[in-house]
């Protein structure tokens, strides 16, 4: 094998030398033969004659030797490539168009696939990531998922289950960082000390957490990200041992993580830059209660050799045992269970449908591009039929000709593909700018060999697809006919015609699929934009503030409700006084923004007076704390009762305002005004009286409906996560420095962040939908354009070929309509078949997109009506243009040219 390759290469690379050697070798033999014959008594001339006779044709022997060495295949390949380049250079316009469209198709594929590869396909960047699972506790009996868990339950996972090598709880949220450069608002993670060893992380400098950090509460040490280290400490290795303050608590920096490390979490926790650790229990503290469920989630590493199913079966069984062992802690109706899911699936499961739709769309574009070029090539191939016929007649094998045509196409696709890949690689950073940041793992997007292989494969496949049709077609022609008839009749024959028709029809069908997809997504976006958010977002500027929650009460300036209320009133007074601000309010949660990680789960459970206890288990609502003027700032309509007043403060009667969803769900048949409810099932909690009902506000995103909310006065129920809302006609950028100055003049260590208009907040919540709709819409536009170019090109070519015939018919008195009709009819038939095929294809594929739609059914009649009509209209236009040109043919000219 090796000698084979080296010999072939030698023959190829050192072509001249090898040929000379072959010459020498044969010459030597010949001379010896002559010598021998001379010695046997022949004259020299006679000897030469005999030797020659004996030898046979020298050239033939040489050719056979070359064959034997296996030169032929490679050499002819090089020949084909050289020839291919010549052909491409000869038609620069065609080559440019083809290369550009391929570059577009392959470039788009490269970019999208590099995202799909990083997000969905590549393994998580942790040690042995296949064994990492996310553990969640659910109570399906009362419709609750991801219920928090307690220390004893965590211990059950660790020791009793026997399926985990390691388990770490993961909590965290936002925190105010002071003591570094300037007050900053960061995401932090609090985990068990074994968190890093479970993930297999190693420090860049210093150390990570270990058993020595097991503490009663939070250990006073922290590990920081590479980004924070560079940003705030200038990558100073002396950072170890420095103290920073998180919500006023002091932590010593003990280690810095390497650049690539990210917390395997969703939403904001992905951006965590600080890690702290806590033991959650230790002597001499009393053992935590089983019912003290404070830990939000956990990650575990399965023992080696265990399948997910085996582990899940064991955990399900264990949940039943635990419910049996501690009947007091688990209500029988809740049906409490433990579920595990591969960590990767948990992290990226949400964006999978969106990315797959994108990938599908971009592959369809590659198809359309390919079909379009096939069409161009086929037109050209018809023009080259004579060339091929001559070559066949000269004895070229059919296989050889197919190979040559394919080489040309592949050459084209490779040039275009490389251009596309290069463009995609060069602009990837720029492209990622437009990708919504809520897609996880974007920082890992890069062009690796998987992406390159995929991109090259796509280029080769497009090349093969568009090259095969003309290649096969070129050898199928009738030899003698072609040569005799020459160039003139090498036109739109029946066979080529059918092939080209088929290409156009499939191109149109793919365009329909893309357009239907885009139509559905754009309609979804429009539905969402038209969705009434329940308030008026225009002329509202928002800013966020976080009051620190230190572990040490002595350093907490906002410990009591009185402190918080004083801060809130001061804040509102200062905001109200800003020039250009009409009205100011405060809320604990902005609309159109999903809740952050740090949610107090227990507060979501409710008890409603005069309702039996048993059924109150599934009474839940999101609690939002607001200042009295909040609804007025937001212009949210009050349906009944009253808004909060300055008098609704601590020590007075507790009040609540509910929204329509809450009213419908919990007081279906009664008037909710004056009814009472309270948090959780703790009888010591005070009752709150419902004083008002407002229209639903889309608090959890425009695409989330019917979640019940309860609003309470921020003067009665303190909150650390605050958003200021200001009704003003000034833009956010103008107000930002004033807002920051005012807030930091109350307390200079408070970071002010996310200052933006309410419209931008809503827009940001739609970012990924907009991205998907825009991109698929763009692809659909490209497909529409290519398909219409395809139809136009085909019909223009056809009429061009029939130039003479048309002239003749016009000379014989054919009317304009007679000329127009057959050409238009051709366009109508092609477009009709393509569109029908496309509609059938879309209808069967649309349901795959169901999870990405809102307010639109996958078989939305409007989309399925508008898309075919639009495409048909465009196809008509594309056919009319060449048809009209046909009627302008001057019969005299046409006949004279003939």
């Amino acid at each position: 094998m090796l000698s084979d390759i080296s010999l072939r290469l030698r023959s190829l690379l050192r072509h001249k030398r090898v040929e000379a050697e072959l010459d020498d070798e044969l010459r030597f033999h010949f001379d010896r033969q002559v010598e021998k014959l001379v010695r046997s008594g022949l004259t020299r001339d006679e000897a030469v004659r005999r030797a020659r006779l004996f030898f046979g044709g020298m050239d033939q022997v040489k050719e056979e030797c070359r064959d034997a060495r296996g030169v032929l295949l490679m050499e002819s390949l090089f020949q084909d490539i050289r020839y291919g380049f010549r052909m491409l250079r000869k038609k620069p316009a065609f080559t440019l168009v083809a290369v550009l469209t391929i570059a577009l198709g392959v470039g788009a594929n490269t970019a999208i696939f590099s995202i799909v590869n990083a997000v969905l396909l590549r393994h998580l960047p942790y040690h042995d990531p296949d064994r990492l699972v996310r553990i969640s506790f659910n109570s399906p009996g009362v419709g609750l998922r991801d219920v928090p868990f307690s220390v004893p339950e965590l211990e059950d996972l660790r020791t009793r289950s026997g399926v985990f090598e390691d388990v770490s709880t993961v909590g965290g949220g936002s925190v105010n960082l002071t003591g570094a450069n300037q007050p900053e608002r960061l995401e932090f993670i609090v985990s068990h000390p074994n968190y890093f060893s479970m993930l297999g992380a190693t420090p860049q400098i210093g150390r990570l957490f270990g058993p020595e950090d097991t503490a009663l509460g939070y250990a006073p040490v922290t590990v920081i990200s590479d980004g924070l280290w560079r940003r705030s400490y200038g990558a100073d290795p002396g950072v170890l041992g420095r103290v920073l303050r998180l919500d006023n608590d002091a932590y010593t920096i003990v280690g810095v993580l390497p650049p690539g490390f990210r917390h395997p979490g969703r939403d904001g926790s992905r951006d965590a830059e600080l890690w702290t650790t806590a033991g959650f229990s230790a002597d001499p503290a009393p053992k935590p209660l089983r019912s003290a469920r404070i830990m939000p989630e956990a990650i575990g590493r399965l023992k080696p050799g265990l399948t997910l199913e085996q582990a899940q079966a064991r955990l399900t069984a264990m949940a039943i045992e635990i419910r049996h062992d501690f009947p007091g802690d688990y209500s029988p109706r809740a049906n409490w269970t433990i579920a595990i899911k591969p960590l990767q699936e948990y992290l990226v499961g949400d964006v999978r449908p969106m990315l797959l739709v994108l990938l599908g769309a971009v592959i369809l574009i590659a198809f359309v591009v390919s079909l379009n070029i096939a069409n161009l090539l086929l037109a050209r191939a018809s023009g080259r039929q004579q060339e091929m016929a001559v070559r066949l007649a000269m004895g070229a094998g059919r296989g050889r000709i197919i190979r040559q045509m394919l080489t040309e196409s592949l050459l084209l696709s490779l040039i275009g593909g490389l251009a596309g890949i290069a463009t995609a690689v060069g602009t990837l950073g720029f492209i990622l700018h437009f990708v919504p940041s809520n897609i996880p793992r974007l920082s890992e997007v890069s062009v690796d060999w998987v992406v390159l292989t995929f991109a090259l494969l796509i280029s080769l496949l497009t090349g093969l697809l568009f090259g095969l049709a003309p290649a096969l077609h070129s050898t199928r022609s009738n030899l003698s006919l072609q040569i005799r008839e020459g160039a003139r009749s090498s036109g739109y024959g029946a066979k080529t015609g059918r092939l080209r028709d088929a290409l156009i029809v499939s191109e149109l069908a793919f365009a329909v699929v893309l357009m239907v997809g885009a139509g559905l997504l754009l309609r979804t976006l429009r539905e969402l934009l038209q969705e009434n958010p329940g308030f008026n977002p225009t002329h509202v500027v928002t800013a966020r503030v976080w009051l620190p929650v230190p572990n040490d009460p002595k350093v907490d300036p906002y410990l009591s409700i009185a402190h918080k209320t004083a801060f809130n009133r001061d804040l509102l007074r200062r905001m109200q006084a800003l020039a250009g601000v009409e009205l100011a309010g405060i809320t604990s949660a902005l609309p159109a923004k999903p809740a952050t990680v740090q949610t107090n789960y227990d507060s979501n459970a409710l008890t409603i007076e005069d309702r039996p206890m048993q059924s109150s288990e599934n009474l839940r609502a999101e609690i939002i704390r607001i200042s009295p003027d909040y609804f007025k700032v937001m212009q949210a309509p009050l349906l009944r009762g009253r808004f909060f007043t300055e008098g609704d403060e601590d020590g007075k009667q507790r009040v609540a305002i509910i929204d329509e969803s809450t009213a419908h769900r919990y007081w279906t048949d009664r008037d909710p005004l004056g009814r009472r409810l309270r948090y959780g099932q703790d009888p010591t909690q005070p009752w709150m009286t419902v004083v008002g009902v407002i229209k639903d506000i889309k608090h959890d995103g425009l695409d989330v409906d019917g979640v019940p909310h309860i609003y309470v006065s921020i003067y009665q129920s303190g909150e650390n996560e605050l958003s200021v809302v200001l009704r003003t006609s000034l833009p956010a950028a103008v107000l930002e420095p004033q807002i920051r100055r005012e807030i930091q003049s109350i307390n200079p260590s408070l970071p002010v962040f996310n200052v933006s208009s309410m419209n931008d907040v809503i827009d940001a919540s739609l970012a990924s939908r907009r991205f998907l709709a825009d991109l698929v819409g763009g692809f659909a536009g490209v497909a529409l354009l290519l398909a219409s170019i395809g139809i136009y090109g085909l019909l223009a070519y056809m009429t061009g070929q029939r130039f003479r015939e048309i002239g003749l018919r016009m000379a014989l008195g054919a009317s304009r309509a007679d000329i127009l009709r057959p050409i238009l009819a051709k366009g109508v038939v092609l477009a009709g078949i393509g569109i029908i095929a496309g509609v059938i294809l879309s209808a069967s594929a649309a349901s795959m997109m169901a999870s990405l739609l809102y307010g639109v059914r996958p078989h939305d009649p409007a989309v399925f009506l508008v898309v075919p009509l639009l495409l048909f209209a465009v196809a008509m236009l594309a056919s009319y243009l060449p048809a009209r040109r046909a009627t302008k043919v001057d019969p005299l000219l046409a006949l004279r040219q003939a």
């Binding site: 094998m1 010999l7 050697e21 020498d24 070798e25 030597f28 033999h29 004996f54 056979e64 030797c65």
Partner: protein
């Protein structure tokens, strides 16, 4: 010169003859054809037209390798020698040939 009846080379025996001719020492093409002719007492004669393609083919398979040397009459000539795998191949082909001829002889003898 019908000194003796010449026999057409049966299909596939050319490779075997070339390999056998190279068993003792490296040879150039002309010497190989001469030697075969001599040893077979002029019964077998290799067509030059098929000798060289066969040599190149065997080289490509890695059974022989070529190198340039000086011939007995002081000219540059291309010498071929057996490689290790060439020797193995020779044994295999020889064995097969012996079996074939023995079987043929047996069949023809008993007929």
């Amino acid at each position: 010169m019908p000194a003796k009846q010449r026999i057409e080379l049966p299909q596939g025996t050319l490779d075997l003859l070339i390999l056998q001719a190279l068993v003792l020492e490296p040879q150039h093409g002309w010497a190989i054809s001469e030697r075969v002719q001599q040893i077979s007492s002029d019964v077998l004669r290799i067509q030059q037209g098929s000798l060289y393609p066969a040599l190149h083919r065997l080289e490509r398979r890695g059974w022989i390798k070529a190198r340039w040397g000086i011939s007995e009459n002081n000219r540059r000539a291309k010498y071929y020698e057996l490689t290790k795998s060439g020797r193995r191949q020779l044994e295999v082909e020889k064995d097969a040939w012996v079996k074939l001829t023995a079987a043929m002889a047996q069949v023809l003898g008993t007929a």
